[in-house]
């Protein structure tokens, strides 16, 4: 059945294939357009470089009026990522706009990897190390990068 959410997700998918942003990819799972798998490649010149981080995106019928739920499946060490992979990012919560599509969501998360916001921590250890001990922070992130090859 075609609903506004499904119709829009087909459009999002088409656009992602025709005009793929650098360093991110995503596609609906085989049997359900409401659940997507995505990958974000760690941005260059950040400790996340070379990592391939997997995510799931779950949409409801209220998309695009409400944001999807986005989670990292790969283990992450990042000030704005919760232990369960949930992401603390304003555009996925109170700054969501229906004009964002999957492509915009993934590129926003990609830039969050480059520019964490340690003032709104989901992982306070990561936030503290990011502010006070950048070397240790990078060491922990690198461990996630290596882990992401195995997953």
């Amino acid at each position: 059945m075609s609903t506004p959410a499904r119709r829009r997700l087909m459009r999002d998918f088409k656009r992602l294939q025709e005009d793929p942003p650098t360093g991110v990819s995503g596609a609906p799972t085989d049997n359900n357009i409401m659940i997507w798998n995505a990958v974000i490649f760690g941005p260059h010149d950040t400790p996340f470089e070379d990592g391939t981080f997997k995510l799931t995106i779950e949409f409801t019928e209220e998309y695009p009026n409400k944001p999807p739920t986005v989670r990292f499946v790969s283990k992450m060490f990042h000030p704005n990522v919760y232990a369960d992979g949930g992401i603390c990012l304003d555009i996925l919560q109170n700054r969501w706009s229906p004009t964002y599509d999957v492509s915009a969501i993934l590129t926003s998360i990609q830039s969050l990897l480059s520019d964490p916001n340690p003032n709104s921590p989901a992982n306070s250890m990561a936030a503290q190390l990011y502010k006070e001990n950048r070397r240790e922070y990078e060491k922990r992130v690198k461990a996630c990068v290596e882990q992401s090859f195995v997953d």
Binding site: T3, R11, Y82, A83, S97, P98, D101, A122, N123
Partner: protein, 269 residues
């Protein structure tokens, strides 16, 4: 645990829990109240306030000028939805004004793209919005179809989104002027992305001013609250605009649609 001790890693996101709870409340409301309700006589308001002297008195005053109302779902979108329905319903009977509005609506897409709204998604909303506008072009016979579309979440919400984008576009375009009305140190762009563009965010005067000015449509809002005085104060947007195509009833936190008595009825009463 003292306030400044934060657990090292929270096991689940607090935001998710809050969102979950919001969804449950919204579901309850949506099962009870239609997105746009049927036309009711104003006496239903009197019944609602039969035990409330202040509101009862004001409802009776309101009845001097209005005879019907239409309730909208209190989901934070009520101003935009009420405005959208009331204005399009008005256009069913006003061919000339319809032609003007259709042209403006058609051109609004390029204007919003110029203001840096993402083209790809904007087109999606614009297409659906124009589908609804085109239905209105059929004239009075399309009244039921319009009512049906506004009660179907897909069309109805897309209209709300598009009107929000038009309001946001206007605020961004006249940034210098509207900046004076924003409290705190938020920029217009911040304000738009936090309070205007997201669905379910309630509307304030600035939203009404922006939308009515952008579309050049007069709105009269009747304010009914617990304040003293025996008036139901009318506020016109944009200020000083002579013709009101849309009449809304505001009760704290919510907008419904009002229908003025015809001139002939006014003279008789």
């Amino acid at each position: 645990m003292s306030e400044d001790e934060i657990p090292v890693v929270s096991s689940t996101s607090q935001d998710d829990l809050i969102i979950q709870q919001h969804r449950e409340i919204e579901k309850e409301i949506s099962e009870r109240i239609k997105l746009v309700g049927p036309k009711e006589g104003l006496e239903t308001l009197e019944n609602e306030y039969s035990n409330d002297d202040v509101y009862l008195k004001k409802t009776k005053i309101l009845a001097n000028n209005y005879d019907c109302l239409r309730r909208t779902r209190p989901d934070g979108n009520c101003f935009f939805r009420a405005f959208g329905f009331a204005y399009l319903e008005y256009l069913l009977e006003n061919k000339e004004e319809y032609a003007r509005f259709r042209e403006l609506a058609k051109q609004s897409k390029d204007k919003l793209i110029e203001l840096n709204f993402p083209k790809f998604t904007l087109e999606d909303f614009h297409d659906v919005f124009m589908d609804v506008v085109n239905v209105v072009g059929k004239g009075p016979v399309a009244a039921d179809e319009l009512y049906h579309m506004f009660n179907e979440q897909g069309h109805s919400d897309y209209v709300v989104v598009y009107l929000r984008l038009i309001a946001s576009g206007h605020l961004r375009e006249k940034e210098e002027f509207y900046q004076n009305f924003i409290e705190g140190d938020r920029t217009i762009v911040d304000f738009c992305s936090q309070e205007v563009e997201p669905m379910y965010k309630e509307s304030d005067h600035i939203h009404i001013i922006a939308l009515s000015t952008a579309l050049d449509v007069g709105v009269r809002v009747r304010y009914m609250d617990r304040g003293d005085g025996s008036e139901v104060i009318a506020h016109d947007f944009p200020e000083g605009f002579a013709n009101q195509a849309v009449h809304l009833l505001y009760r704290p936190g919510h907008y419904d649609i009002l229908y003025p008595k015809l001139q002939a009825q006014l003279i008789m009463s």
